[in-house]
């Protein structure tokens, strides 16, 4: 789990962006998956279908908002050498709540996601937002930041899951979008498909940004 801040984040924290700026930043400019390269485990593991990807995104949204809010509220009490422990404790508590809620109300999805729900505890996106933002900022800013980052994560998962599910199964959210004659590319729903899709998408994002920067001179 990396605790080093990217230079972009450090300078952003120094300038102290507003809640709205943090919200926007999380979605694209500092997208947790494509720009910060955090949370790769769920990104690769549960993007073989839109349903599981969106359930994961919703779970991360809940945990990140709750953890950021909680940490922001108690930020005055944090001691530097115990802060990571407090972050982990807080995140673990909310993840366990999500895990039990899924088991109670979305049992099939809970079985399908299996250990990936408890593994949200070690998702670096959440602990990095606690460290970079919530431990230093007021409640509204911490919540705006959490929602922005979660939407960015959801967008990244959706982009990968859409490609993998359509090419791999010919469906989207379980609904058929390609004709039944489509020879489902099984590799796309298997782990190699996750790496290939993520790599190609990340390459395109970087290529697109590099071109835009060149155009600006």
């Amino acid at each position: 789990m990396s605790q080093t801040q990217t230079p972009a984040n450090a300078s952003a924290a120094d300038r102290g962006p507003t809640a709205a700026e943090r919200f926007i930043n999380g979605i694209l400019p500092e997208n947790p998956t494509y720009r910060q390269m955090l949370g790769m485990c769920p990104t690769l593991a549960i993007t073989n279908g839109m349903r599981s990807a969106m359930t994961m995104a919703a779970a991360v949204l809940f945990v990140l908002v709750c953890a950021n809010a909680m940490i922001s509220l108690i930020r005055g009490l944090l001691k530097p050498h115990l802060r990571i422990l407090v972050f982990t404790l807080t995140i673990a508590a909310f993840v366990t709540i999500v895990d039990r809620l899924l088991a109670a109300y979305m049992y099939d999805m809970s079985k399908q996601l299996g250990p990936y729900v408890p593994l949200i505890i070690v998702n670096c996106i959440i602990i990095s937002r606690c460290e970079v933002c919530a431990a230093k900022q007021s409640l509204p800013i911490a919540i705006a930041d959490a929602v922005g980052q979660s939407l960015g994560f959801a967008l990244a998962l959706a982009s990968i899951a859409t490609i993998r599910e359509i090419l791999g199964a010919g469906t989207w959210f379980g609904l058929r979008v390609l004709p039944a004659a489509w020879p489902a590319w099984v590799i796309m729903v298997l782990p190699p498909g996750a790496f290939i899709t993520l790599g190609l998408l990340m390459g395109s994002v970087n290529w697109f940004l590099a071109r835009r920067q060149e155009a600006r001179g």
Partner: protein, 191 residues
Amino acid sequence: MRNNYLVEAWLVIVLGVVFGGALAGVQATLADRIAQNKLDETRSQIPALVPGASKEASSEVEVDGVRVFRASSPEGQLGWVIPCGGQGFADRIELLVGVDLRVERITGLYVLEQKETPGLGAKIMDERLFRSQFAGKTAARSLVVTKQGAKTDREIDAITGATISSMAVCSIVNETLARVRDGLLAALPKE
């Protein structure tokens, strides 16, 4: 000095207690619902675990303090489905074991809950790769895990890279059958 550590850590201790209490509350609220979900899933698996049995004709009974299912067709009982569990590699594994009427043969195995390593231990859920080999194995003697290819009716092929998970499943099955066998035989309908 020693006292200082406690003073320093008061926030961690307080949070630990508060979160612990909150989680206990969540568990107490949702436990019944989760148990019901598992029961529904168990019932829906009975026809696959004991061939010929139907969900509707089967009934739940308690034998020696263990809740088991009489897997039955409308014509009569065909076997048993026994929910059981034990420690796996990562966390508790919960299984359903199907056996024939006289507890001589295993007729099926289903994984109700597991948190084993994805890609390795989690393959114990895989029907074709792992679970299907239990059907037809002996229930009279304990099963052993082998890496050389199962030849006899008491050998189970380990999953590559998940020997401990494979062994955990076998030992849960062994212990459970040893514990409930006499009770099940005694509870059989008299012919």
